[in-house]
């Protein structure tokens, strides 16, 4: 297993020309400039492949579905081989004991040198009974493989935050990877699913530079999650101008006005949808006329409706948003103040009239 990525590519009939095209495209999509293209080519020609184990916990496989649709044909055809994807129970040909044996083999042979990619998350309730693979709980498999890995990639919102299966009341206690594995570097690539090109670019970056991409406070690669959808949205001028779609299919909505009032979560969502877009850069939700639902944000299922801007706050045990709670509180305070003022005025009038009579008597 000492062959390089380049060897693998050539073996699979990819021309050098196509290979170099891929390198320059990757350099561009990583925002590295043209000078980095030869560096990427050199790395791929000389470095041995890093094994990747791709585990699936509680999930819907939308991350894998997204990943295999990575825009550039070469990315789809090549990265899967480049990765030396040695284990992925959805994609691999092997099954059963044969498949599980690969896990042990990689763990011992590449101790501390393989990357663990986790799609989905482990459910912890009932000793992990809600996700059984090969006859035992997924959480055990995750702990074992994570023990000897170099780094973990948390694919998608499930592995990064918990996503739908961790939404309240979270019956299986689905738990994001970083809350279970605490002693390994973890790169979160959230999204439901993440953008295909973001996934392949993160992997390529790690293979090329042999280090993790720079992460933000939340553990996401800065290069793709450094800005909000809103910051690069092509409808932003309509936001600044105060031009909004007020209802679905109204005049503003047809004119492509900002979807803020329709509950677009672009201003609070960190992702690259408005720059990289989806399906070979064809479109993204806002471009298709629907607001962003904030799928790459922590707990987005539990933070109120997709169609409200000022969303409901569930912490109060009632379904009400900040405005309803606030206006009610202000109303109560206002009424209390009015009542207090009335009582004060009455009490004062009563005592005042008493004083006046007294004074009048004194004057007489």
């Amino acid at each position: 297993m000492t062959e390089t990525f380049y060897d693998v590519l050539r073996r699979q009939g990819i021309t050098r020309r196509s290979f170099l095209k891929f390198c320059s495209l990757t350099a561009t999509s990583l925002g590295l400039g043209s000078a980095a293209a030869p560096q990427i080519a050199h790395a791929l020609e000389t470095k041995p492949r890093t094994p990747v184990l791709w585990l699936h916990g509680l999930e819907c496989t939308c991350c894998s579905e997204s990943f295999i649709r990575s825009a550039h044909p070469l990315t789809k055809d090549v990265v899967l081989s480049m990765l030396s994807l040695d284990y992925d129970d959805t994609l691999m040909a092997a099954a059963g004991h044969q498949a599980e044996a690969i896990l042990d083999e990689i763990r011992t042979k590449y101790k501390g040198n393989y990357i663990l990619a986790v799609e989905g998350n482990p459910p912890l309730n009932e000793d992990g009974m809600f996700a059984i693979q090969g006859g035992r709980p997924f959480i055990e498999k995750l702990r074992e493989t994570a023990a000897d890995c170099k780094a973990i990639i948390s694919w998608g919102s499930c592995a990064s935050w918990g996503c739908v299966q961790a939404a309240k009341p979270n019956p299986t206690r689905a738990t994001p990877v970083h809350k279970v594995i605490t002693d390994k570097p973890i790169i979160k690539v959230p999204g439901c699913p993440p953008i295909a090109e973001v996934m392949t670019a993160v992997v390529t970056y790690m293979l090329t530079f042999e280090k993790l991409p720079e992460l933000d406070r939340m553990g996401r690669p800065k290069m793709f999650y450094g800005q909000r959808i809103h910051d690069k949205c092509y409808r932003r001028p309509h936001f600044d101008a105060g031009q909004f779609a007020e209802a679905w299919d109204d005049e503003g909505s047809r004119k492509g006005y900002c979807l803020y009032k329709m509950g677009c979560k672009g201003p609070t969502t960190y992702n690259a949808c408005s720059t990289v877009r989806w399906n070979e850069g064809v479109s993204f939700p806002i471009q298709s006329g629907h607001g962003c639902i904030g799928c790459s944000e922590d707990g987005f299922w539990d933070k109120g409706s997709f169609y409200d801007r000022v969303t409901d706050i569930k912490q109060f045990g009632i379904e009400a948003n900040a405005d309803k709670v606030g206006a009610t509180a202000a109303g109560v305070v206002g009424a209390a103040v009015a009542a207090h003022a009335a009582v004060t005025a009455l009490a004062r009038a009563r005592s005042k009239s008493g004083i006046d009579i007294k004074q009048g008597q004194e004057e007489r």
Partner: protein, 235 residues
């Protein structure tokens, strides 16, 4: 002659009023600038969350949300810098300037007076006490709803502002952690910041009512004190 009449009336009915200089000029100036900033912040903030009806026409000719946000941020800077100035004044000003920052919570007597004031507001006592500065109840409310509230609004507000300036900006460096501490979901911090606006509104209602009521009912001046700086005692 009218003047003579007035002098006559004054001679008959006037009483001596004692006055103490409480609020120094910088503090009074801060109070009114701050009040204006909060008003602008609350109104523009409301419309940032629930924008005004759309205006049709050439997009490049409109900048409604842009201006609303600009006013909000400009007022926020005035509010925050004013608050820093107020802290400075608490250090160099007279001892009344420190009242809203430090509560004498270990003073049993003070708590007793808080209760006394509460009973006064509940119509259980006939006569309020006289205070040169805030009464203890007012001081407690000021601290909880203004001082703590202002810190909360500045922290959450500038954290959200840092999102617009972008990762690596000064606001992100200084306040970005607030979003992380509050759970990492920006939408939730927006909601919490908005809730803070409503809490402030409740405070303003009580604050203005109490000031007017005490000006009439208590034994000292309230509203004019924040204009002239002098606290007058009526008896």
């Amino acid at each position: 002659m009218l003047a003579q009449q007035d002098a006559h009336e004054a001679e008959r009915n006037a009483r001596l009023v004692k006055a103490v200089y409480v609020y120094e000029a910088p503090l009074r100036l801060w109070h009114w600038v701050n009040a204006l900033a909060i008003t602008v912040l609350a109104i523009t903030g409301y419309f940032i969350g629930k924008p005004l009806p759309s205006i049709a026409g050439d997009t490049s000719a409109q900048y409604v949300m842009g201006w609303i946000r600009f006013l909000h941020f400009a007022a926020a800077y005035i509010f925050a810098i004013g608050f820093l100035g107020r802290i400075y004044w608490a250090l160099v000003g007279n001892h009344h300037a420190r009242q809203i920052f430090i509560l004498p919570i270990f003073n049993r007597n003070w708590w007793g007076e808080v209760l006394y004031e509460l009973r006064w507001y509940l119509f259980l006592v006939k006569e309020p006490n006289k205070y040169v500065g805030h009464n203890p109840m007012a001081q407690l409310m000021m601290f909880l709803f203004f001082t703590v509230g202002a810190v909360y609004m500045i922290l959450t507000g500038f954290a959200l502002y840092g999102e617009g300036l972008g990762a690596g900006s000064w606001a992100d460096h200084m306040f970005g952690w607030v979003i992380w501490v509050l759970g990492g979901n920006s939408l939730q911090v927006h909601n919490m910041h908005r809730l803070g606006m409503w809490v402030t509104l409740c405070f303003i209602i009580v604050h203005i009512y109490a000031a007017i009521r005490e000006d009439i009912m208590s034994r000292q001046s309230l509203i004019s004190t924040m204009v002239s700086g002098w606290r007058m005692f009526k008896d």
